[in-house]
């Protein structure tokens, strides 16, 4: 102990042995209500007991109603039907119904996040455009969308726009063909053919090659400060190898499945083939993308504006071109500001997808409502809903936080 050496130089003249004894005694008799350390522990215990007491009180009230808490209903036959998402029949158990809902929500959220980011980026940058008209159009879009409740927008979209599209017998047919009616949109979609088994190794090779090139490029960027080759070098093998494979193997590995209008035995018109987006899904997706896009636009704009003017001035003084300033100086700094609020917009989009119930899309919440109505197990289903949304929220913030951290490290 290095302090011992000097202790000799400061004699303790002021305190005699009596006083020391008194002090020791004094310390041992601190009553608990004045003892800071004890009080800290006590405060926590009291708080926890209070919380537990409220919980216990609620639980007693629940039990007094003679209600049971059990998840055994999940194995029972659902006996209702669900049309959206993965295969489901009324004989399937409740658990599968819930899975249908979870997957539907995940689908709408995943696609929505990608599209909303694109819309937000374009609009946010358009808002900063030097072109007065473009900037004003973006501004009007942002202000209108942000100041109207999402649910009102969904009602407008679904009941006042999509429902008013032509009925299926008069469906719009766009070249492709793409069928648009108030039943939804049917698009051509690639379908796996017999020779796909021969082709997919080419895909894998191309992907691995592209990733490897990206890593090499990243390394050289780190060491030399400049990329060793253009991004085109990465894209070329990614495209060229699969095309080569396509030409080499016999037959087409992928076929384009074209939608087609057919008349069923009962006289029902149906568009078969391709991939179908139901009108409920389309309305929800569109609503979420347009709404969240407006918010992301603001995030992007604020991010770009947050880069201090001095940064661009310094770059200009060093002779960078406008383009280089944007890509090397402004965007990397702006991204650090953009990502945290972007995460919360992604979370909002996921949570807002629960409004699906108002327009008949079978998301997690809508399926859950059917489940508790038909099984009567309100509390059990509620906990399942909470757990699912929390899991999704945590997953998104986990992934985005990793991105965020990498971003910050690159910059330092």
């Amino acid at each position: 102990m290095s302090g011992e050496g000097v202790s000799g130089c400061i004699p303790f003249k002021g305190v005699d042995m009596n006083q020391r004894a008194a002090m020791d005694e004094h310390r041992s008799v601190v009553p608990f209500w004045r003892n800071e350390r004890v009080l800290k522990v006590l405060a926590q215990i009291v708080f926890v007991i209070l919380v537990l007491a409220v919980g216990a009180w609620a639980l007693t009230n629940y039990l007094e109603r003679g209600l049971k808490f059990s998840y055994s209903f999940l194995d029972e036959e659902a006996s209702f039907d669900l049309a959206e998402g993965i295969e489901f029949s009324p004989t399937d158990p409740y658990a599968r119904a819930f899975l249908v809902g979870v997957l539907n929500t995940a689908r709408v959220a995943a696609i929505g996040i990608v599209l909303a980011t694109l819309v937000g980026l374009v609009t946010g940058i358009a808002r900063l455009s030097k072109n007065w008209l473009v900037s004003k159009i973006a501004g009007v879009y942002i202000e209108i969308i942000r100041n109207i409740p999402l649910l009102v927008q969904l009602f407008l979209l679904y009941f006042a726009v999509i429902m008013k599209l032509p009925q299926i017998k008069e469906a719009f047919v766009l070249p492709g063909p793409v069928y648009i009616s108030n039943r939804g949109i049917v698009l051509p979609w690639p379908r796996v053919a017999a020779s796909f088994g021969l082709w997919w190794p080419f895909l894998v090779v191309a992907l691995i090659g592209a990733v490897a090139l990206l890593i090499i490029r990243g390394r050289s960027l780190k060491h030399t400060g400049r990329p060793s080759f253009n991004l085109l070098w990465v894209v070329t093998p990614l495209v060229a190898v699969p095309v080569l494979g396509w030409l080499l193997i016999p037959g087409n590995p992928l076929l384009l499945d074209l939608p087609e209008m057919v008349t069923k035995s009962g006289g029902v018109l149906k568009v078969e083939g391709g991939t179908a987006l139901s009108s409920e899904f389309t309305a929800l997706l569109l609503g979420l993308v347009v709404y969240t896009g407006a918010y992301i636009a603001e995030v992007v704009r604020a991010g770009i504006l947050s880069v201090p003017r001095g940064q661009t001035e310094a770059a200009r003084a060093q002779g960078f071109t406008n383009r280089q300033i944007l890509s090397l100086i402004v965007l990397p700094q702006a991204l650090r500001v953009i990502i945290p609020p972007l995460i919360s917009q992604y979370l909002n989009l996921t949570k807002n997808s629960s409004l699906a119930i108002a327009i008949g899309f079978l998301d997690l919440y809508a399926v859950s409502q059917t489940m508790w109505n038909q099984s009567g197990r309100v509390v059990e289903v509620f906990f399942m809903i909470m757990a699912s949304y929390l899991t999704m929220s945590l997953t998104i913030s986990f992934v985005m936080n990793i991105v965020n951290r990498r971003m910050q490290i690159v910059e330092r």
Binding site: L128, N182, A302, A366, G376
Partner: protein, 387 residues
């Protein structure tokens, strides 16, 4: 993770020619704020007090007292003391329960509520309506939030036994049907292979629909909505090929469509749907009041007493009419009401026929009376004996 100018996306943005030298002041960071005069902690304390006051405004305590009262003296006494009947109802079903442009509830189900209010208070306006969704209607009654629920609710064994509810009577015999477009040419469910059917979720309808198609081995696509109105909109706009619901509802909905003649209700009954008012389990006296008001209204039609002739009928020699109108006997007293309660009811809403004609007849949404005729006219309405 760097964004490069060479990526196509960024290149695209570059053409938009960003003015990234825009003034920085747009992102105002508020650091200190101004020194407002009044102390903010006073404001804070004020808000707290305010929150408490608002909480105190909540009816919690008073209704708690009501709850204790109901255990002691019964719902009838409670309703009388409150001076107001609270009825759970539908707010968006044409003909049965909806809000008119004046903001008032009206419809077939609503009239039975008015009748109960007239029976208890002699005043049909002493009633408050609680619009309830299909999902929340039963809990609302169980927890005592409403005195009576009259919201096209099907009398089923499970609901009657497991959910602690008691039906009072049947006001309307219904069955689940299917409405389709006339030009589809469909006559039965078997014809409807591949059809999309819209349906309200959280009801027995949803399950009956699945059962009906499954038992016939017909493939179909359900389209589920939370409210009847949305279910109907989806069908009417051609989003669905068929709509399923209770036949009465289908008729009501059809009547409100732009071209009612283009739609037909198939001659298929997927289920029995006896609808009527219900009360919380275990309060027999209150349940009796509701049920005898309903039966009284039916009996009035059978005896030919209506809102127009009720005053003349007071001097009728028919003993049934005398008992019904409280001229003789103490029917009302034994229910806990005044003896002339049916006079008040009939003056307020009329007999079953009048109510039916008003809302469901040709002037209303036009549903043929079908099984809802009197027993002696080939229907199912059979009031128990007034004696």
């Amino acid at each position: 993770m760097k964004v490069k100018a060479s990526t196509p996306l960024v290149r695209f943005f570059l053409t938009l020619d960003v003015d990234y030298n825009m003034p920085y002041d747009l992102i105002t960071k508020l650091e200190g704020g101004i020194m407002m005069k009044g102390k903010l902690c006073v404001l804070f304390a004020g808000l707290l007090v305010l929150a408490l006051i608002l909480t105190a405004c909540a009816p919690g305590k008073k209704e708690a007292a009501e709850e204790e009262a109901v255990e002691a003296v019964g719902r009838l006494q409670l309703v009388k003391e409150r001076g107001m009947l609270i009825m759970g109802c539908n707010a968006e079903l044409p003909g049965f329960g909806y809000i008119n442009p004046a903001g008032d509830f009206e419809g077939f189900d609503i009239d039975f509520g008015k009748a109960i209010a007239a029976a208890v208070f002699g005043d049909a306006t002493k009633i408050e309506y609680r619009p309830l969704t299909a999902a929340e209607r039963l809990p609302a009654l169980q927890t005592g939030e409403v005195d009576v629920l009259n919201r096209n609710t099907t009398w089923t064994l499970t609901r009657d036994s497991a959910n602690e509810l008691d039906w009072a009577a049947v006001t309307f015999y219904d069955g689940q049907g299917m409405m389709v477009r006339k030009d589809s040419g469909w006559k039965s469910l078997e014809d409807m292979a591949g059809a999309t059917v819209s349906c309200t979720t959280g009801t027995t309808t949803e399950m009956n629909l699945a059962d009906a198609f499954r038992s016939r081995g017909v493939e179909y696509t359900p389209l589920l909505f939370e409210s009847t109105q949305d279910t109907n909109t989806a069908y009417e706009e051609g989003r669905a090929d068929g709509e399923t619901s209770d036949k009465s509802q289908l008729a009501a909905l059809r009547s409100a469509m732009a071209n009612p003649d283009e739609h037909v209700i198939l001659d298929v009954t997927m289920s029995k749907e006896p609808l009527g008012p219900l009360t919380a389990h275990g309060d027999n006296q209150w349940n009796d009041v509701v049920r005898w008001v309903v039966w009284g209204i039916i009996q009035a039609e059978e005896s030919g007493v209506s809102s127009k002739n009720v005053d003349e009928m007071l001097s009728s020699k028919d003993p049934t009419i005398q008992r019904l109108l409280g001229v003789s006997g103490e029917m009302g007293t034994s229910l806990g009401l005044s003896d002339d309660f049916m006079v008040n009811v009939l003056k307020a809403v009329g007999n079953y026929e009048e109510i039916y004609e008003r809302w469901l007849g040709p002037e209303g949404i036009n549903i043929p009376r079908g099984p809802n005729r009197l027993w002696n006219k080939g229907g199912l309405l059979y009031p128990m004996a007034f004696r």
